[in-house]
Symmetry: C2
C-alpha cells in the first residue's frame, strides 16, 4: 500500500494548533484575572486581524478559514476585554 | 473609473495585523522581563503551530505564507523562551 503524503495535513495541524493555542491563555487569564504582562497592543491588533480573516473567509466562502478564526476570536476576545478593563481602570 | 474590490486585500491586511501583533508583546516582555500572566501552554502550542505553517508554506512554495510565519516566529519565540526560563527557574 503506497503511502502518499498530503501537505494539506500539515496545514490542518498547524491551523488547529494556532487556533487552540489561545484557549490556555484565555483560561489562565480568566482564572487569575492577571493581565499585567499581557500587551494591549498585541491583543488589539490580533483581534482586529482575526476579525478581518473572518471577513475574508466569508467573502471567499472558505468554511475552514471561517471556523478557525471564529474559534480564535472566541478565545482571544475575553483576554482583550479583560486587559482593556484593567488599563482603563488603572487610569 | 470603476472601482473593483479585491477580497485578497482584506486577507493581506489581516495577515499583516496578526503577524505584527506579536511585536508589541515581544517588546513588552523583553523590556519588563515579566511573563507571569502569560501562558506557557499558549506559546508552546502557538510556536509549534506557526512552525508547521512555515513547513507547510515551504512544501507548497507559498512565499507569503513563509514570510508571514517566519516573522511571527521571530516575534513569538523570545516570549516562549523567556516564559520557559521563568517556569524552569521557579521549580
Amino acid at each position: 500500500m503506497a503511502f502518499s503524503f498530503e501537505p494539506q495535513v500539515i496545514g490542518y495541524i498547524a491551523g488547529f494548533l494556532t487556533t487552540i493555542s489561545f484557549l490556555p491563555q484565555a483560561i489562565k487569564t480568566l482564572r487569575s484575572q492577571s493581565t499585567e504582562s499581557i500587551s494591549l497592543w498585541m491583543y488589539g491588533l490580533f483581534v482586529t486581524g482575526v476579525s478581518l480573516w473572518l471577513v475574508y473567509g466569508w467573502l471567499i466562502a472558505d468554511p475552514t478559514l471561517i471556523a478557525a478564526n471564529a474559534i480564535t476570536l472566541l478565545f482571544a476576545s475575553p483576554i482583550l476585554i479583560l486587559k482593556l478593563r484593567h488599563v482603563l481602570s488603572a487610569r
